[in-house]
Symmetry: C2
Subunit: 363 residues, 2 copies
């Protein structure tokens, strides 16, 4: 059998910097554990636009469909702010999600004990936090038609369409329940069923799928209340199931609870391929952070943890994923901090590359 | 000139309880300050449905259009969960907002110093917090057509439409800039212009309106980042301008920063009426809290502060509003706490009605 294949798309801003550190980790797995990956690399986002005039070339898209896992850095930046909507860096990312049909976006929000004091929330509210947000990623208002800016009378109107079919909701819900079965057996589904019919259908389908998982406790919450509860008492949750747009906001909100966005990975999974592995893309939750790009200040941990998720969900290497996560915990407990993780206690930050080296050393 | 008129709609759950306390305050203004209001009362939400089979009777709607200000308690509750969407308690509230054309929803998030330790956020992050969210309230996905659950092939699809015209964005943006002029001269506009065309139009119009207010510093932020920044460093904001759905979530998120939802008022303002006063409805941000309804546990402060906003925005009685807000601060500094405001230090909570009495006594 050939080696598992990975396509690396570093993208823009700090994407290439953090990806360099992931490569060190991949190399370590090859050398120290004899786990080999076929790694290729290509452009996405602004970097792809600069070369090809499109944020994702068709060849790159085709390659992404073939590999076992895509690792993506980040896309976007002020240099591309004035681009037409259709070629914005984000469209490259959205195209990957849509065409690979990556409907289940897993966003864990875990608070590392060594960082609990760094959160803007009080320690007892976040210490030990371990929740998983399952965000539907291929539908909803991100992709619904009609969309656009249209003339209407003597003015313009901006239109987007929130749109969910039963089967779209169903497969996302099923992923959430499957995850919950391997965790603490609780799913909280969030929508605005009091205001939106799409939310009513969401709630109905989630309830129906829930009946197939009698061991899992299902609750429903309006998304506004969900945001509030995430800040008030996030440990009440295990798995949160929500749609594309609510998931975007709620997961960023949850991310911030853990102290730094520089810590948070994500996995976007689709249907199984012929080899049994799911279509998959892994990316840090953080963006391209143009303000610190190229300065060696970025925290590579979110991207390294995204690779750990790849080990777990694409390559069935749970023990190796544990090992990598453990190494990161060790490094943090030892006090290594990139600039984003600095509180007031006057520790000196280490660089992106020093953090990557520290993780490899702890492996 | 006749007395200013107020229509009280207590609604469901804790709505009637907290409104009883507001009535005490209104009575105090009549007796102690000789400021008289013509107060009438009617049903909304589940209470209206129980009597009339609709969450807002036409007569009530007509009366709301005539008065100087509507004070609303809260709507909804589990007893109404299985009602058809078209007669849900929330539809009564949404009808008032829409037909009164209350496009500017003002949601202050202020952290009372006496409560700073009660927030789940660290004291230094929230102490002194004073931000204002301006949420557009009459359009967007709450009201856009088409909407509903439709058959499509052999399954159903839930559809809602996000829809903003230039003039809708413009008037909301203008309200935000006007507010900022009387505050710290900063507006941060939040949307998802990287994903939604309606967000692109939003950003463009906000920028255009901003040109009329050269003294005000305008910034733009994606709504997901906005949620994150609210948790990370909320004091960076002055006025936040956002749409109906993002505003719903972001304002609940901001609300939680202040320690208790039981503290937060809101004003929903429309165009000026013949008498120069804006169409206006005032309501606490909290919901009907069915779990504590009827137990005398509810915190009436959010509703009393909503009346203070009425004094300020409808009746041009800024000094009286200040007086009322001051009284609440005094009561809190003296240690009075309803159950929602209790930390771990073992103080005994006072009841809804004791809190109302304490505020009146401090006036
Ligand atoms: C970059 C952007 C298109 C994206 C999104 O809105 O989904 C990002 O915010 C995310 O959460 O992955
Ligand atoms: C009750 C509900 C319809 C309402 C909304 O979604 O606007 C509430 O959450 C609010 O924020 O006022």
């Amino acid at each position: 059998m050939s080696n598992p294949s990975i396509l690396i798309l570093p993208g823009d801003g700090i994407g290439p910097e953090v990806m360099t550190e992931v490569r060190k980790v991949i190399t370590w797995f090859g050398e120290a554990r004899d786990i080999q990956f076929d790694v290729s690399e290509d452009l996405v986002g602004g970097a792809a636009y600069d070369k090809h005039g499109t944020p994702l070339a068709d060849e790159t898209m085709a390659r992404a469909q073939e590999v076992d896992a895509v690792l993506l850095g980040a896309v976007g930046g002020p240099a591309y702010d004035d681009l037409d909507f259709s070629v914005k860096p984000e469209r490259g990312l959205l195209r990957l999600r849509k065409e690979m049909d990556l409907y289940a976006n897993l966003r864990p929000a875990q608070c590392f004990d060594a960082l609990a004091d760094f959160s803007s929330l009080k320690r007892d509210i976040v210490a030990g936090l371990d929740i998983m947000i399952l965000r539907e990623l291929t539908s909803g208002v991100y992709f619904g038609e009609p969309r656009g800016i249209f003339e209407e009378g003597n003015e313009r109107v901006g239109i987007n369409t929130q749109r969910y079919t039963e089967s779209e909701i169903e497969r996302a819900a099923r992923s959430a329940f499957e995850l919950a079965m391997r965790r603490n057996k609780k799913v909280c589904s969030m929508e605005k069923a009091n205001v939106m019919e799409s939310g009513i259908l969401w709630r109905e389908v989630a309830t129906r799928v829930g009946k197939e998982y009698p061991e899992v406790e299902l609750s429903h919450m309006y998304a506004d209340n969900g945001a509030m509860q995430l800040v008030r008492a996030p440990k009440q949750f295990d798995v949160i199931l929500t749609d594309n747009l609510f998931g975007d906001i709620l997961s960023d909100c949850a991310a911030m609870l853990t102290g730094s966005l520089g810590m948070l990975p994500s996995a976007s999974l689709g249907a199984p391929m012929a080899n049994g592995r799911p279509k998959a893309m892994y990316e840090p939750v953080h963006g391209s952070a143009p303000d610190i790009a190229g300065q060696g200040k970025a925290n590579p941990i979110a991207c390294i943890l995204s690779f750990a998720m790849a080990l777990r969900y694409s390559f069935d290497m749970g023990a190796e994923a544990d090992r990598l996560e453990k190494a990161i915990e060790t490094v943090l407990s030892d006090g290594a901090r990139t600039a984003d993780l600095l509180g007031e206690d006057g520790v000196d930050p280490i660089s992106t590359s020093e953090m990557g080296d520290a993780v490899v050393a702890a492996l």
